[in-house]
Amino acid sequence: ENGETPRYGGALNIGSVYVTLSALSWDPYDWNWKVNHDTGFYFEQLIAGDLSKSRKNGGKHRFVADASLPSDGLRGELAESWEWEANPLALVFKLRRGIMWPEKPGVMKTREFVADDVVFSFNRLNTSPRKQADYFDFVDRVEARDRHTVVFHMKAFNAEWGARFGWGYNSAIVPKELVDAGPSNWKNATGTGPFQIAEFVQGGFQTYVKNPDYWDKERIGNTDYRLPFVDKVTYRTIKDTATQLTALRSGKLDILESVGWRSVDELKKSAPTLLWSKRLSTLGQYVALRVDSKPFDDIRVRRALNMAVNKDEIVAAYYGGNAEMLGFPMYTDWTGYYQPLAEMPPSVKQLFTYDPQKAKELLKDAGYPNGFTTKMQFCTCSPAHGDLAPMIAAYLEKIGVRIELQPMEYGAFLSAMTTRKNAPMYLMNKGHTNPTMTIRTNFVTGQLWNPSQWSDAAFDRKMADVYATRDEAERQRMLREMTVHMLDQAPYIWLPTAYLYAAWWPWVKNYDGELSVGAVRPGPIYARIWIDQELKRKMGF
C-alpha cells in the first residue's frame, strides 16, 4: 500500500461494531450469534471472505455486511477448495495441509488440523439442544473421507449452505480437546486462527494476542508477510456513546468501527486527522403494520400511511442527508439482488413520495375519512426511535391518524413480536442478514421476525423454490421480483436507512473499514492491519 513496508508489533485498540456488548459466550455450542464475533479471532471456518478482493486491494467488495458474503468474494480458509458431487448430492472439501492447532497448556498439545476436527465440530453443533431445530436438516451426514477431505452428504440443495456451515454463524471448527477441557471457559479457548484470547474482563475488555504459528500470509507489494502483524488486539466494551467518542478522540481507541453520522462533524473538527469510511447501516428500519387486523388489512390504508410520512424530509433534515431512502429489505451492496429506487415501478416510488393529499384520499376510500386512532410500540433501546416515533406520529396526525406511542423495554418489546402480541404498529430495526433470509424472515408465514404477520401461501412456496434453486442468477431474479412485490404491498411503513461511519487513526494501516469476512467475524481483517508506530509517536500519542 503506497509503497510503505509493513511493520510488525504494536497493539491495536478497537471499539468494535458491537462496542457496547461484551462477549456473551465462548462456545459455539451455545448457538449464539455473538460467539462468532468474539471467537472469530481464533476459531476458523472452512470458508471466509477473500480480502484480496476488497475495495482497498482494488476489488469490488467492501466486506461490511454483517452476515453475508458475495459468492465471488469467497476463499477457502481451512478448506483449500470445495466442489459439488451429484448423485448422491454431496459437497466435498479439500482441507489445507499443515495447519496446526497451537500448544495450549492444560488443554491440548500442538497437532495438525484434520478432517475429523470438521466432522466433530459439525456433529457437536448439530446435537446442541440450543440449535435451531431444522437448521442443518438439509445435511444428511458429514464424514471424513481421508485425513484432509471432508464430505457433506446432502438430503437436498439449500441455497444458504455457505452461511450455515461454510462461513456463517455456526461454522467454527473447534478441537475436541477444548471441548474436553471445558469450552465455555475462555481461559481454555484455542484455535487455528491468527490470535489467541489472553484476557477477558466482562463488560470491560477482551484482549487477544498474536498466534505465532498462524498459517496465513498477506502479499503486500511483492512480498509475502506472515500474519498477523500486530502483537495484540484489544476490544474495548464501552456502553456510552460520549465515552466512545472521547476514547477515539484521545487516541485510546485506534479504530472505532461504528460512529453515528451525528458525531462525524464534531470529530472531524476536533480530530481532523482521523480517516473515515462510510457504509449503510445493516439494520433496516420500518413500522410494521399488522395486516391481520383492521385497519391495516386494507392495502390502501398501508399505502396511505407510507405516503403521509415525509421520508424526503426525514432523510434531508433529520438525517442531514446521511441516509438512503431505500435500503431495506435488500442491502445496497448486494449486487444482483438490490435494485435502486430509481429502477422501481412507479407504484413503489409512490410510497416514497410525500403526498398527504393522496394519503387522505386513500384513507377516505378505505372508509376512514376522519382517520383513526391506533397504537405504536417501539423499543427504548434505540435512541433514534425515540425521535422517529414522535416524528411519525406527528406526520400521521396531519392525515388524521392519531397514534398512542408505547415505548417498551428491549426484552418486552421483542417478546411482543415473538408472541405475536405486538401492537398494530410496531417500529423496529431488523438486520438484513443475507439476501434470502431478509425476505424469508420478514414475509414468510409464521416466521418469528414477521411482525406484520404477512401470510401468503403462494409467496411461501416461491420462497421454498428460491432455496432449492441452484442457479444464483435465477435466485437473484426471483428475489428481486419478490422484493418489488413486498415493497408494493406495503406491509410496513418503509423508512430510510441511515449511514454509519468507521473512523481510525492514520497509523492504522492496511485497513479500510472492513467489518466481516463471514458472519460478524473480523479476525482475518485485524490480522492484516499493521501499525505505523513512528507515525503514532510523531502525532503525539
Binding site: 456513546t241 460520549a242 451525528r262 464534531e266 415525509n310 424530509e313 426525514i314 434531508a316 433534515a317 433529520y318 423499543c379 427504548t380 435512541p383 425515540g386 425521535d387 416515533a389 414522535p390 416524528m391 406520529a393 406527528a394 406526520y395 396526525e397 398512542e404 406511542l405 408505547q406 415505548p407 417498551m408 423495554e409 426484552g411 418486552a412 418489546f413
Partner: protein, 301 residues
C-alpha cells in the same frame, strides 16, 4: 433604644390574630422568610405555567418541523428548537405541567407512605417493627428494574402509574428515615409524659411524634421532588416513563439534551434550569417552612 411594647402593638397583634391562620402564615412567610416566599412564588409560577401550558405555549408539544431542527434560541423560538424542530419553549412549558405534577404528587405520596410506615414502626417498635421493616428490607433488595418492567407490562405506561410507582419506590425506602427520627424522638420525656396522661397511640403519634419529626419530613419531601422528576427520566429509559411525545424535563435532559450536549446545549439548558429552579424553590420554601413551624424560632416583626 429600648422599644417597650405599646398598647398599640397589642391591638395590632390582636387584629392580626383575627385574620385566618393561612393569611397569618403568608404574612409571616413574606416578612420573616423572604427567600422562602420567593421560592414559593417561583414554584407557583411554574405550576401556573404548567396548568396553563395549553394557553401560554406558542406551539403544540409535538409540532415537528425537521427543517428547522436544532436552531439556537431566536426570536421565533426563544429557547431554540430540538432535534425534531419542535419549539423548546413550548416543550418546556408542557414539561412543567408533567414534571411539576409528577414531582409534586409522587413526592407527596412517597412522603405520606414514609411517614405512615416510619412513624408506626418507629414508635411501636417490637413485633410490628420487626415484621414491617423486614418487608421494607425485602422491598429495598428487590431489583427495581425487574419490578418496573413487570409493572409496566401489567398496567402499561402512563402518568398515574409513574406517580404511583415512584411514590411507592421512594416512599417505602424513605420510611426508614422517618423511623430513625421517630426512634430518637420517642424516648423524650414529653412522650412519656403524654403516655402517662393516658393519651392514645394515635394521639401521641399525631401530636407529639409527628410535629417533632416534621423538619425531617420536610427535607424528605423537598429533596424528593427533584429526585422524582429526575427518576422519571430513568423510567423513560425502560419505557415506563410518560410516553412520548409528552415532554418531561427529565426526559428532555436525558434524551436529546445529552445527545446534543455539544452541538445544541440549549436543549439541556432550558429544562435543566427549570428543574433546578423548581428544586431550588421547593427546597428554600421547605427550609422557610421548617423555621416558621419551629416555635422556638418564632419571632414577631
Amino acid at each position: 433604644m429600648v422599644e417597650v411594647a405599646q398598647p398599640a402593638t397589642g391591638a395590632l397583634t390582636s387584629r392580626r390574630r383575627d385574620a385566618g391562620p393561612f393569611v397569618r402564615f403568608i404574612v409571616r412567610l413574606v416578612r420573616e422568610k423572604p427567600l422562602g416566599a420567593f421560592g414559593a412564588a417561583i414554584f407557583l409560577l411554574f405550576l401556573a405555567c404548567g396548568l396553563l401550558a395549553d394557553v401560554v405555549a406558542p406551539h403544540g408539544m409535538n409540532q415537528i418541523n425537521p427543517i428547522a431542527r436544532l436552531k439556537p434560541p431566536s426570536l421565533q423560538a426563544p429557547l431554540g428548537t430540538d432535534s425534531l424542530g419542535r419549539d423548546m419553549l413550548s416543550r418546556v412549558l408542557y414539561g412543567a405541567q408533567l414534571s411539576v405534577i409528577i414531582g409534586f404528587s409522587a413526592a407527596a405520596i412517597a412522603t405520606v407512605i414514609s411517614v405512615v410506615l416510619g412513624v408506626l414502626t418507629g414508635y411501636l417498635g417490637g413485633k410490628v417493627d420487626m415484621v414491617v421493616q423486614r418487608f421494607v428490607d425485602a422491598w429495598m433488595s428487590f431489583p427495581d428494574l425487574v419490578l418496573l418492567i413487570v409493572v409496566v407490562s401489567v398496567i402499561g405506561p402512563g402518568m398515574p402509574q409513574v406517580i404511583g410507582l415512584l411514590g411507592l419506590l421512594f416512599g417505602i425506602a424513605g420510611s426508614r428515615i422517618v423511623r430513625g427520627a421517630v426512634i430518637s424522638v420517642r424516648e423524650n420525656m414529653y412522650v412519656h409524659a403524654a403516655q402517662s396522661t393516658g393519651a392514645s397511640t394515635l394521639r401521641i403519634l399525631w401530636h407529639h411524634i409527628l410535629p417533632n419529626v416534621t423538619p425531617i419530613v420536610i427535607v424528605l419531601f423537598t429533596t424528593r421532588v427533584g429526585a422524582v422528576i429526575l427518576a422519571e427520566s430513568g423510567l423513560s429509559f425502560i419505557g415506563l416513563g410518560v410516553p412520548p411525545p409528552a415532554p418531561t424535563w427529565g426526559g428532555m435532559l436525558s434524551g436529546a439534551g445529552r445527545v446534543f450536549m455539544y452541538d445544541a446545549p440549549w436543549l439541556a439548558l432550558a429544562p435543566g434550569i427549570c428543574l433546578t429552579l423548581v428544586v431550588y424553590a421547593v427546597n428554600v420554601f421547605g427550609d422557610a417552612l421548617r423555621d416558621l413551624l419551629d416555635p422556638r424560632l418564632r419571632s414577631a416583626p
